[in-house]
């Protein structure tokens, strides 16, 4: 099964979709993403280096374009492309790379339906924060500083890429399970996601290393662009804070996942806060009961049964109502369009 999934690589990309996150999870990660974006922008404003603006834009477009080139992996029948976040961090430094990733993810969400508006925060965290602020400074830099030349670049890129993909994949599982979308137990979900992302990370790291080594051999001064970037104290604090938060969330999640996979679902419903949405307001409730009592052809069913099963009568009514609502919407849309055209 793993092989099949890996062959169909699009199945395993890490973009969270809107349909997979609950409002609570979406807004928590939106807040985290917004905070990191503001901090990164403030750090860049301080450095006031406008010469890098064009480079950021063009390199982000490069990452976009280069991900269309799929490299085949001999002997496996699968393919991979270069890892965006890490490559940008190596060329631009963490803050600029993070902002470039934010822009890439926003364009992917808005134009390609890859990700989504509500899930944008989750994607920024999984695919921007980990490679730019964790994998690059704490793994790639340390290794490439210690091992001189292309060896350092190669091992640094491969290990950092694997680490950032594993962290990202772990958080995809955390976010999906906390959103209460899947019935898949968290431990099985992790077992499915982590080995595949380990392999994808190795391939992406290898391809990224090849590109960086090429640049290093032709134009070594390009790689020094990111080295003299001023690191702001504020940014470091923000990174430490989010790293701790990620570790605590991950730790709690792992504890839950191992102790009671079913208990997790229960806790999600509490976190998602659906409880207060489940009970309609008394006025509206009584109004709808009145309408239903007045018109209902099958009078003995309650306004909202507690069990999710729906009997035949309910379903027919639901279908008729849905079709009418949608037709009305289509008619109204066309009516207003014609009216606007006449004006």
């Amino acid at each position: 099964m793993v092989v099949i999934i890996f062959k169909r690589k699009e199945l395993m990309k890490m973009h969270m979709a809107d349909a997979l996150v609950s409002p609570a999870v979406g807004s928590v990660f939106w807040a985290a993403g917004a905070y990191l974006t503001l901090k990164s922008s403030a750090a860049l404003k301080k450095s006031d280096d406008r010469g890098m603006t064009a480079l950021m834009g063009v390199l982000a477009a490069f990452v976009f374009a280069s991900q269309m080139i799929n490299f085949s992996i001999p002997g496996t029948g699968s393919s991979g492309h270069i890892g965006g976040g890490l490559l940008l961090a190596i060329l631009l430094g963490p803050e600029r790379a993070f902002l470039s990733m934010v822009s890439i993810l926003a364009v992917q969400a808005l134009f390609f339906a890859d990700g989504g508006l509500l899930a944008l925060g989750c994607n920024i965290f999984n695919m921007g924060f980990f490679p730019c602020f964790i994998a690059y400074p704490f793994i790639y830099k340390k290794i490439s500083d210690r091992l001189e030349g292309t060896k350092g670049i190669f091992w640094g890129a491969v290990i950092a890429s694997i680490a950032s993909l594993l962290m990202g994949a772990f958080f995809v599982v955390v976010q999906t399970v906390f959103s209460g979308i899947t019935s898949l137990p968290a431990d099985i979900f992790l077992l499915l996601m982590l080995p595949i992302h380990f392999a994808i990370g190795a391939v992406e790291g290898f391809a990224t290393a090849m590109v960086i080594i090429y640049v290093y051999s032709k134009m070594p001064e390009v790689l020094s662009l990111s080295k003299d970037k001023p690191g702001s104290g504020d940014m470091k604090r923000a990174v430490v804070f989010f790293t701790l938060l990620a570790v605590v969330t991950g730790g709690l999640f792992a504890w839950y996942a191992s102790s009671s996979p079913d208990g997790l679902e229960w806790s999600i419903e509490r976190v998602a806060g659906t409880a207060e949405l489940e009970s309609p307001q008394s006025f509206l409730h009584s109004l709808s009961s009145f309408i239903q009592d007045r018109f209902a052809p099958l009078p003995d069913y309650s306004f909202r049964s507690e069990t999710p099963s729906e009997n035949m009568g309910t379903t027919v009514s639901g279908l008729v109502g849905s079709i009418i609502t949608m037709t009305l919407a289509l008619a109204l849309g066309m009516f207003f369009r014609k009216r606007k055209g006449r004006q």
Binding site: L44, F71, I73, G116, M219, T315
Partner: protein, 261 residues
């Protein structure tokens, strides 16, 4: 990812101006998404009335439903992958339309339905307001200048670089060379170096034109939102709230079925 996908739903025309104020459409779309995802995983039928919004706004702005569907297709496998395991792990049975079905299948269909509702809504938002309009609005509500400039530049250069990448790949394939992970450096490296030298030229050009850190003019931001659009937003938000609180399709269905029987 193909280049034509990028512009597939693009109906925004700069000469005509946006059909909607970007801020209004953004607020309505976001509240729509929140409403859709706030439904529980077994509430499939209650989601149907929410299809009214993409249907209305899609037919109003003349976005091709076929193009929307084509954009959604490549992303669908991931959602199916996450959802398809639900029936295997959630085997509790329930009755639906007279058929006994496992609750896992209901949650799977509800997931797919949510995806089919949300994705068109956000694609139509971009199609109707234009990417520039959205970025300007985002800047006016506090998105940092650095990021707004970055978004503008990215949007402008994607097309150029995607075309260049296509040429590189085509040239390689025509020469019979296989693109493998081992020659990644030789394929992507030259493109990357060309991008870097291009960015230097862009920077010089920007400096010549008096670039001061932002690519847009703040005068364009002070637009008033017309009253009609405010009413539009209010109506939809009220509709979303009502659908969230009441089982509206059932109420309407009961009224109609009740009248007929």
């Amino acid at each position: 990812m193909r280049l034509k996908d990028l512009y597939r739903t693009d109906i925004y025309d700069e000469r005509r101006g946006p059909s909607f104020s970007p801020l209004i459409l953004f607020v309505v779309t976001l509240s729509y998404i929140v409403t859709v995802v706030s439904f529980g995983r077994y509430e499939t039928f209650r989601l149907f009335p929410l299809a009214s919004y993409p249907i209305f706004i899609g037919s109003f702005t003349r976005v091709s439903f076929r193009d929307l569907f084509r954009k959604m297709l490549p992303v669908l496998p991931f959602i199916i992958f996450i959802g398809i395991l639900n029936p295997f792990f959630d085997t509790a049975r329930t009755e639906y339309l007279g058929i006994v079905i496992s609750k896992g299948w209901i949650s799977f269909f509800s997931l797919i339905l949510k995806f089919m509702l949300i994705v068109p809504a956000s694609l139509i938002m971009v199609a109707a307001t234009g990417f520039d309009g959205l970025c300007r609005t985002a800047a006016s509500v506090g998105l940092p200048d650095v990021l707004v400039t970055q978004l503008f530049l990215l949007h402008r250069y994607i097309r150029l670089l995607v075309e260049e990448t296509h040429n590189i790949v085509r040239a390689r394939v025509f020469r019979g060379g296989k693109i493998t992970v081992a020659n990644a450096g030789n394929v992507c490296g030259p493109l990357l170096l060309r991008c870097i030298s291009r960015s230097e030229r862009i920077h010089s050009a920007l400096e010549c034109r008096g670039f001061d850190g932002q690519l847009y003019h703040s005068s364009a931001l002070s637009k008033r939102v017309p009253a009609g659009e405010l009413i539009f937003a209010l109506c939809w938000i009220v509709f979303f709230t009502v659908v969230r609180m009441l089982d509206i399709s059932r109420i309407i269905g009961d009224m109609i079925v009740g009248c007929v029987i």
